[in-house]
């Protein structure tokens, strides 16, 4: 049994040990109190490693290309951000860079920093602050919206030229799902208990 207060309505619950994959919900406001996960550590690590591979492909390979007669213009994920920087629109460039490039990377590296030591049963410094940071950045990871932006841009430019999606777009699209699977495999309650472990 452990006591937990609902983070959305503050009602106190006493929760018995739960079977894997069970979800505890608040009896008053129906908020998810927590989800118990089976093999949380292995699954999170597997998805995170897959995500990192896709990330490297998404950043380094051609993203979109535009073809109009003899003119062929190839861009990478970072091209637009770089051009916004050059145009002097730095806050905007920073925002796009953070939400679509840096924060997804921080999420994956954060997961590795927490879950590799848990898997190996060793302790690392700053694990708790890292896991706290990991939880705080989550709403600011917006790759799926960028993907919709690509779709809109293709329709917008479709009459002017041919848009050719590159390998990186496919990797980027897959990364959205893989990162979501990684995040969904995280059993926060278990992580906090293990990080606290013994002390």
């Amino acid at each position: 049994m452990h006591r937990i207060a609902c983070h959305e309505c503050d009602l106190v619950h006493d929760i018995p040990p739960m079977p894997a994959r069970a979800t505890a919900r608040c009896v008053r406001c129906n908020a998810v109190l927590f989800r118990a996960q089976a093999n949380s550590i292995d699954r999170t690590l597997a998805w995170t490693f897959a995500g990192l591979v896709l990330y490297v492909v998404a950043v380094s390979f051609p993203f979109l290309a535009m073809k109009n007669g003899p003119i062929f213009n190839e861009t990478g994920l970072l091209t637009g951000i770089q051009l916004l920087f050059e145009q002097g629109i730095i806050p905007l460039a920073t925002l796009v860079f953070l939400t679509c490039v840096l924060i997804p990377l921080i999420q994956m590296l954060g997961l590795l920093y927490i879950f590799v030591p848990l898997k190996l049963n060793v302790r690392v410094q700053y694990a708790m602050p890292v896991f706290r940071l990991f939880k705080h950045v989550k709403p600011w990871s917006m790759m799926e919206i960028y993907m919709l932006g690509i779709l809109v841009s293709i329709v917008k430019l479709g009459k002017m030229a041919t848009i050719i999606p590159g390998l990186a777009v496919i990797a980027f699209g897959l990364l959205i799902f893989v990162l979501n699977f990684a995040l969904a495999s995280v059993d926060s309650h278990m992580v906090w208990e293990r990080l606290e472990g013994g002390s």
Partner: protein
């Protein structure tokens, strides 16, 4: 699951916002900052200055919303002609060119979602301030809804970034981000932070007080 049927506040407990550890409220909490005994996060029984901060951010976002819609979002120069497009003229362009689905997507994400967020957040703030909570469950649902939809307003910012990258020098046309893009980014960020500063537990506090 046997609920205690009381709020942590009334039991003199405080729940950590990061690790959800429930601990006895330290004496020092009323006078200064105290930290979670497990993870080190700052402890608060309710988000600090929730109502005032949310109001300030909502009002700021509403102010940014005006230039975001009035000023040009993109400036396109093609063979000697320069045209500036606002969000609405972009929507109208798509409607006239038969892509009404895209027009609808952009209109929803850029114009309607921020507007809806203003209305819902102001409604929640007034309900809590004037203690007019009849259906706390519905209000909580509304709050979750605003939290979930806000991020989609980033769409047009991304479209501008992608267009700038694809259509650049050497091409027939050149697209640059207009001043509205910056205001638009400010609208998205301030409304997201506003939703985050609002504490949904305040809704339930109103109901709890009434039953006393």
């Amino acid at each position: 699951m046997k609920p205690a049927r009381t709020s942590a506040l009334r039991l003199g407990l405080v729940s950590c916002s990061a690790c959800h550890l429930l601990s006895r409220k330290p004496q020092a909490l009323d006078h200064g900052i105290t930290y979670c005994p497990r993870c080190g996060e700052e402890l608060h029984q309710r988000k600090p200055n929730s109502i005032a901060r949310t109001w300030a951010l909502v009002i700021a976002a509403m102010v940014f919303y005006i230039p975001a819609n009035v000023l040009p979002m993109t400036i396109t120069s093609a063979v000697g002609t320069v045209s500036a497009d606002t969000i609405m003229s972009g929507v109208i362009y798509f409607m006239q060119h038969g892509s009404w689905e895209i027009a609808l997507v952009i209109f929803t994400a850029s114009v309607f979602v921020p507007f809806l967020k203003f209305i819902i957040l102001i409604y929640l703030l007034l309900a809590v301030q004037f203690k007019l909570v009849k259906q706390p469950k519905d209000l909580t649902r509304l709050y979750r809804f605003t939290e979930a939809i806000g991020r989609w307003s980033m769409l047009d910012i991304y479209v501008v970034t992608i267009l700038v990258a694809l259509v650049k020098l050497g091409f027939l046309a050149d697209i640059e981000a207009g001043p509205a893009a910056l205001y638009f980014a400010l609208v998205v960020v301030t409304t997201m932070v506003a939703a985050e500063s609002f504490d949904p537990r305040l809704i339930w506090d109103v109901v709890g007080e009434k039953h006393e």
